[in-house]
């Protein structure tokens, strides 16, 4: 059984302008020791998905349905108290912006100790001991000194390490990382990704890695879910996704990426912008931007279906099998042809 099994998750927000259906029937699962990458453009519902699982949406504007089974327990039905118990101990989360995610007026030691004490009935001293160990583990130099420093005395990369230390300090079974490296330099990103990989190997933590960078996905994920406008459009093992992408949006994503290993004159251009979730287009949500849209796409929403021959590769598109393989090959060939 998967560690986390998300089934038909839906979340909507009440706003002044109407109802925003931010997440619209998302299903995926992740096993211990595995990394699931969720990729998609800004505003497609990646963060909301993770916040919904954590129960961190503002209850006064958000409504959710579906199931998020964590070790068999539905998080959406869990009491606030139970959720608090799980948060930070069994499920941990790190956020995009390390600059603002730490409380600026408390020492990082205080914040780490808080994380421990919230879930363990141990002395402050022991908690501090653990905090120190966690800092050592994430590779903060001279942790005994730095533990009493304030967040602003750390660089972005170091803060993200602290955030990871804080997330992992209670040895959670699941770590949700919401764009943990987006705000960082490539060199620091490489360090952080390396660190996460290492820690995952050591602790066997399951990771949900949310990002909009296909490069990061390729580096770290075992499975990938591609999201578009609140829905998953394609889901596959990482190599399969990059080798045989099946959804036009995935093609667009891959093709529009400038790559230093591939020289192109023009990038593939997905025209237009991601749709507003307030009034999403009917039918397939990608159809207004899709070069292959057919009339059925305008009216009917495709469901995730498995690819022939690959039961773990799912996609939601009405294109016929032939077109899918043909176009994917063309795309890959176009990129590969120029690979130096």
């Amino acid at each position: 059984m998967a560690l986390l099994d998300v089934r038909d998750l839906r979340t909507s927000f009440k706003t002044d302008d109407g109802i925003v259906q931010a997440v619209d029937g998302v299903s995926f699962s992740v096993d211990s020791g595995q990394t699931l990458g969720i990729v998609g453009e800004s505003g497609c519902g990646k963060s909301v998905t993770s916040l919904t699982i954590m129960g961190l949406n503002n209850p006064r504007s958000a409504t959710s349905s579906g199931q998020a089974l964590f070790a068999g327990e539905d998080l959406l039905q869990a009491s606030a108290h139970r959720l608090r118990e799980l948060r930070g101990s069994k499920i941990a989360m790190i956020f995009q912006d390390p600059m603002t995610s730490l409380n600026p007026v408390k020492t990082i030691g205080w914040q780490l100790v808080e994380a421990v004490l919230l879930h363990h009935d141990i002395s402050r001293k022991e908690a501090r001991e653990r905090a120190l160990n966690a800092l050592v583990e994430v590779g903060i130099p001279r942790p005994e000194k730095r533990i009493d420093d304030y967040p602003h005395q750390f660089s972005g990369g170091m803060r993200q390490r602290v955030m990871i230390a804080m997330a992992l300090i209670n040895d959670p079974a699941l770590l949700i990382a919401d764009e943990p490296t987006t705000a960082l330099d490539v060199t620091t990103q490489a360090q952080i990704l390396e660190l996460m990989r290492m820690l995952q190997e050591e602790h066997g933590t399951a990771i949900i890695m949310i990002t909009h960078d296909l490069g990061v996905i390729a580096e770290i994920a075992d499975d990938v879910a591609v999201m578009y406008a609140g829905r998953i459009v394609e889901e596959a093992a990482v190599t399969e996704l990059f080798n045989t992408p099946r959804h036009p949006y995935t093609w667009g994503l891959l093709g529009s990426l400038p790559r230093m290993d591939v020289e192109t004159d023009h990038l593939v251009q997905v025209p237009g912008q991601p749709p507003s979730l307030l009034t999403p287009p009917p039918g397939c949500r990608f159809h207004p931007r899709c070069a292959f849209a057919m009339s059925v796409c305008h009216s009917k929403a495709p469901t995730l279906t498995t690819a022939p021959g690959s039961p773990t590769h799912l996609d939601a598109c009405f294109l016929d099998e032939g077109a899918k393989t043909r176009e994917a090959e063309r795309l890959l060939a176009g990129m590969g042809a120029r690979a130096s």
Binding site: E41, S42, S155, G156, G157, M158, D185, V186, T187, T188, Q189, A190, Q191, L193, E194, H212, D213, L214, G215, V216, I217, A218, E219, V238, T239, F242, G252, L253, L254, G255, S256, L257, P258, R259, M260, D261, E263, T264, D265, H266, L267, V268, Q269, V270, P271, Q273, P274, S340
Partner: protein, 346 residues
Amino acid sequence: MSDELLVVENLQKHFPITQGIVFQREVAAVKAVDGVSFTVNRGETLGVVGESGCGKSTMARCIARLLDPTGGKIVFDGVDITRLSRAEMRPVRREMMMVFQDPYASLNARKRVGFIVGEPLEVHGIGTDAERKRRVQELLEIVGLNPEHYNRFPHEFSGGQRQRIGVARALAANPKLIICDEPVSALDVSVQAQILNLLRDLQREFGLTYLFIAHDLNVVRHISDRVMVMYLGKVAEVGDGRSLYDDPKHPYTGALLSAVPIPNPELGRRRRAIVLEGDVPNPINPPSACRFHPRCPRFVAGTCDVDEPQLRSFGGRHQAACHFPLERWPMTVEEIRRPAGSAVAP
């Protein structure tokens, strides 16, 4: 008319840190840009990469004279603009425009698109009102917007569209040079591709010259003819895109290249050349000699921390500032850590 549109020599920008009770003394300086020299030829794109805080934006703003350089010389289109006054700068501003990073913050939210795009024309007194309006509509069309958008406000547009407005504004007065300071780093991949394509097309159509700053090596590679790598206010390496990416000489360039995630699972996970330790040091107190030496895997004590390496040529226009340049690329971890010819100081 020379080939060189922009010549920058030994550009320096130090932000003073002052202290004092009655009279403020300068006690230290943030050496944001500390002796950068390069040239940009007409019609070419020079890409600039480097980690955050290495002085890319500061350099760009000095060139645009939004900041006063501390030292060095900037020659634009044959004119030394380093010390021009505000008034003297005015005509130069027509020739040199800028596209900014944040498509949200770089457009005045309280002004209509027509005003924003037409402002360079208005400021420089180009054309009549009606002509200006026509020109603005034309520009909107050029950047792929609808001329009817003339009377809209920026917030009615998406990020990509806003960046198009920014580009239109930069184009308005027919400049020769456009400085792009991370113009796509705030955009989604699909939109980023649109803007990159647009910039390329415009360059072709109008013979523009770009100084293109980014920290995404993929993007820089894609758009630039030549690429300059900066580290802590200095140039580490500069060269044609292909030779620099395929055959980096400076270990820092190597480290950057190897840190870029490649959207190819097989390739990406195999390659693991240089992972740098630590962060970019504080520019108030930059390391001595080669500024990269505390993080450099090929560091040789007694040389790198004593002697400041100068840019030297590695064939063609490829230059790097390193005592122990990389021999080949990619290389193994062992090779990296054992600089060949460590005894031979150049």
